[in-house]
């Protein structure tokens, strides 16, 4: 990507983010009742998007070639285990990341 393309990409992300933040205040200026469909999406969409994001992070994992996605699988299990145990966001993230780094640097290298 050229610098201009990078700036455009970042600008598109900024624009989309700003839209998501300002839109409700533009569409519902005086606190009129929110359409039922929008309320419904507000409740169900985030969960699905988080699922999509997990898959998005794993999109480059090749389960047919060496390491077979095992470092990812093990590290996600560590994240999940830590999180179920302590439910401390930072601990779960740090623990899982360190585990993954150790695995790809020393075990599956």
């Amino acid at each position: 990507m050229t610098l201009a393309q990078q700036i455009i990409t970042i600008a598109m992300v900024v624009l989309a983010t700003v839209i998501t933040r300002f839109l409700p205040f533009i569409v519902f200026p005086s606190g009129k009742p929110t359409p039922k469909y929008v309320q419904y999406l507000g409740k169900v969409l985030p969960a699905a998007v988080f699922g999509l994001l997990v898959i998005y992070c794993l999109k480059s994992v090749d389960v047919t070639a060496w390491s077979y996605g095992l470092p990812e699988l093990i590290s996600i299990a560590v994240v999940a285990g830590l999180h179920l145990w302590k439910r401390q966001m930072l601990l779960s993230i740090a623990g899982g990341t360190v585990c993954y780094m150790l695995l790809v640097q020393f075990v599956f290298c």
Partner: protein, 244 residues
């Protein structure tokens, strides 16, 4: 009423009081944002970007998860539409923060623009749930919560971006921090919700689309199918929501 009281007092005093009330609420976020921000900065640094990238991106985008995703997109092929749509989808939750804050932001004057611009998950959580004392100006309180959080995040991202190049240890695998973060966010959602249909649909549809369309082209079909299926299931899921 708040507005009239505020007008009588000296503006500097009001701001200082609001700042003092807001700061303690942001301390846990300071720890989290510095850590995640530094990690994000290091991640950008080891991905080959100057510290100016994390600095300006954390300042202008100011939405953590989408900033990590943007690093990936900057390293891929140029696709502005995908960048726009992906950011729109990831940040769609802001729409519902906004709807929740319509009343709370009323009467905050020109500050309202910044309150909306800087409304990240953490600022929303604090400003939505905090019990602001009656004698503290709520507009300035929320303003300082937003501002402090943004300062923590930009500081962390910039430091990580600068010092990432001095790091002596092997950073291979650090990119997993993004995966770990989304797994945790997914789990938080999972532990909170009573009905897992939407979470499972998100995982399942995306996985099928990844297999069908490949790593570079699966996002937009995934989003379209998720939106369509959730719309079709509206009656079922809404009924279920009423029961619980």
């Amino acid at each position: 009423m708040d507005g009239r009281i505020a007008a009588v007092k000296r503006p500097a005093g009001i701001k200082l009081k609001a700042f003092k009330a807001a700061f303690p609420n942001t301390i846990p976020i300071m720890a989290g944002f510095l850590f995640l921000g530094i990690t994000y900065g290091i991640y950008m640094n080891v991905s080959g970007f100057s510290f100016l990238y994390p600095m300006f991106m954390s300042m202008t985008i100011f939405a953590g998860s989408v900033e990590f995703v943007t690093v990936n997109m900057l390293m891929g092929s140029f696709n502005p539409l995908q960048a726009f749509l992906l950011a729109l989808m990831i940040n769609a939750r802001h729409l519902f923060y906004g709807i929740s804050m319509l009343d709370r932001y009323k009467g905050t004057g020109i500050k309202k623009i910044y309150l909306i611009y800087g409304m990240c998950d953490e600022s929303f959580s604090v400003n939505y749930t905090a019990n602001i004392p009656d004698d503290v100006d709520k507009g300035w309180f929320m303003f300082f919560v937003n501002l402090l959080n943004q300062i923590y995040w930009v500081t962390g991202a910039t430091l990580g971006g600068i010092f990432g190049s001095f790091i002596k240890f092997n950073t291979k695998g650090l990119e997993f921090v993004m995966t770990a973060m989304f797994v945790v966010i997914f789990m938080e959602q999972w532990l909170k919700e009573k009905n897992h249909t939407s979470s499972l649909l998100g995982l399942g549809i995306s996985l099928v689309c990844l297999i069908l369309f490949g790593a570079d082209n699966f996002i937009i079909p995934s989003m379209a199918i998720i939106l369509a299926v959730l719309t079709l299931l509206r009656r079922v899921l809404e009924k279920d929501g009423e029961k619980t």
